[in-house]
């Protein structure tokens, strides 16, 4: 785990993991707003023409970004500039296999390391296809963040954890991003199950849109991932979204940071 991840998850409260799509709106300003509002970990989405695991909000963000001509080089420039402005905030790239591997996994991993990216989430490379990206990232010192889902059974979980780094992202609903939310009891049970299997921090996401939901999850998990709710704000306010992003981040961060009844 990189030092930035270790520091972010060593705080006495759960982490707010905030996702926005790169190149959608004024990304640099929005990233600064997330940090200013109290986000602990940043996920930067790499736009893709065919985001199979995403709901309507993030699909639209992908297409808006691509329509503006966002390239992979632009994404790494955004990441590198963020790293210069914010030396301590962990930065994760999240996206799909094809844009990540098209120039070779070694190229991608080296670019991540150069830009100061701490971790990578690739939606459509499960542990069975780890060779496509995992070894290159590990050589480059970049954490491969794996996803666990409600369908990941006990027999599979060790495979998912093998080679995983950074934190474990628990996808709390069998579904796509930004729509329905899981029942809190099922999240509680899942986090307990995952914690028994790994020392990695557990961040929970998919369908988390309000401070109330986030606070409930923060009582049991190490991190709460919010994405589509930010995307909605950017869709509404366009290039002038940063103040709204910062205000919403603060309500989420306050809820999450104050949620733990006892220190972890």
């Amino acid at each position: 785990m990189t030092n930035r991840f270790a520091a972010a998850f060593a705080k006495p409260h759960a982490a707010l993991v905030a996702f926005i799509t790169g190149g959608d709106g004024d990304t640099a300003a929005n990233l600064d707003a997330l940090v200013a509002g109290g986000a602990d970990v940043i996920e930067l989405g790499m736009p893709f023409t065919d985001p199979m695991a995403d709901g309507p909000a993030i699909q639209a963000a992908n297409l808006r970004s691509l329509a503006k001509g966002t390239t992979t080089a632009d994404l790494f420039a955004i990441a590198a500039a963020f790293r210069n402005r914010h030396p301590d905030t962990p930065l994760v790239l999240m996206g799909y296999a094809n844009p990540m591997t098209i120039r070779g996994a070694d190229w991608f991993a080296a670019e991540c390391a150069k830009a100061g990216v701490d971790g990578v989430i690739c939606v459509d490379i499960p542990s069975e296809e780890d060779g496509e990206l995992g070894p290159a990232l590990r050589v480059a010192g970049v954490d491969l963040i794996r996803l666990a889902t409600p369908t990941t059974d006990a027999a599979r979980l060790p495979d998912v954890l093998n080679g995983a780094g950074g934190f474990l992202y628990y996808v709390s609903v069998a579904g796509i991003t930004g729509l329905q939310q899981a029942a809190q009891t099922s999240i509680d049970e899942a986090v307990a199950r995952l914690k028994a299997a790994t020392d990695l921090p557990i961040a929970v996401g998919f369908g988390v849109r309000t401070p109330e939901q986030a606070a409930a999850i923060a009582k049991v998990a190490d991190g709460v991932v919010v994405g589509s709710a930010f995307i909605d704000i950017i869709a509404q306010h366009g290039d002038a979204a940063a103040p709204y992003v910062e205000a919403f981040t603060r309500t989420l961060a306050d809820a999450i940071h104050g949620a733990k009844e006892i220190a972890a």
């Binding site: 199979m52 069975e128 990941t152």
Partner: protein
Amino acid sequence: MTQLPNSLRTGPDERGHFGQFGGRYVAETLMPLILDLERHYRAAQTDPAFKAEFDYLLKHYVGRPSPLWFAERLTEHLGGAKIYLKREDLNHTGAHKINNCIGQILLAKRMGKTKIIAETGAGQHGVATATVAALFGLPCTIFMGAVDVARQQPNVFRMKLLGAEVVAVESGAKTLKDAMNEALRHWVANVHDTFYIIGTVAGPHPYPELVRDFQSVIGEEAKAQILEAEGRLPDMLIAPVGGGSNAIGLFHPFLDDEGVKIVGIEAAGEGLDGKHAASLAGGRPGILHGNKTYLLQDEDGQITEAHSISAGLDYPGIGPEHSWLHEIGRVRYEPVTDAEALASFQKLTKLEGIIPALESAHAIAAAERIAPTLGNDKVIIVNCSGRGDKDIFTVADALGVAL
């Protein structure tokens, strides 16, 4: 260099790869289901009752075997190799698609799944899926790009008559690849009770393998039929390739027959310099829809839009086994343009009284190009993968005829 295996028919490997292609590039939510599907398919493969039910339905419901027709007038017209047509157009629902749908719905039943979903482009796979869903009394949802819904109204109505719900997909370019994205999104959210009937030899392992196996009845029949008609194997096979299910179905039983040349036809649309759907000629390897294969894409790996006059070939990818057969050189893939296919559509109709699907017309066009260069002692089998009734509006429009 790796040595070629003794047989080209043993793929994929246990992880679903054909050489570097294929695999299981899906979200973690789907992975357990894909593994479960594979377990059930392995059990079905060795279950005589499964094969018996599949064969029964192909014979009595689909109407197999489909004839192998000696196209004598076309042969005389071209003045070269003898041309036989494998008449998949005579199957129930009018194309090869039904073979695969029968196999997959039997798997769905075996797995206890109670709902069926599928993607469709022109609507042929959607109609075939809605048909088997009606036959088995299972609720069925078909995902179809909104653009395709608008231009394929007769098939939309057919699917609705068959009891399917047709969802018009508004995301992306609103065509086949977007329909597949949406079907995958729906599946992720409904994995517990839903079976996804993929229409071609693409998607995550084991789909390319099982769709190929269900379609291989085409080549197995053709082999027996040509031996009966000519007393020997053909010199060449020709089939159109979009995703490539009819082609692999014809090709696979012949892959180890060295004397049989095999040609797959990609849709060159307006030409390889313009808009087209020729993934092998104009694309490069990448990852989409659960498998690694040749894709039309830009230098950043963003998927580009395909174009063909034939909606069934209008997809920016190709099945992974075709990518492998291309790279090892066992199958030669050639492009045919919209204009060539349109001309052959009319020629076959007039000479043989057979209206081919525009997909199949691409293979006919290639046969027209190749047959005159071969002696009249040579034999070619062309896959007439579907009938062209569905295409008459498209053809009329292209010819400037108002219906």
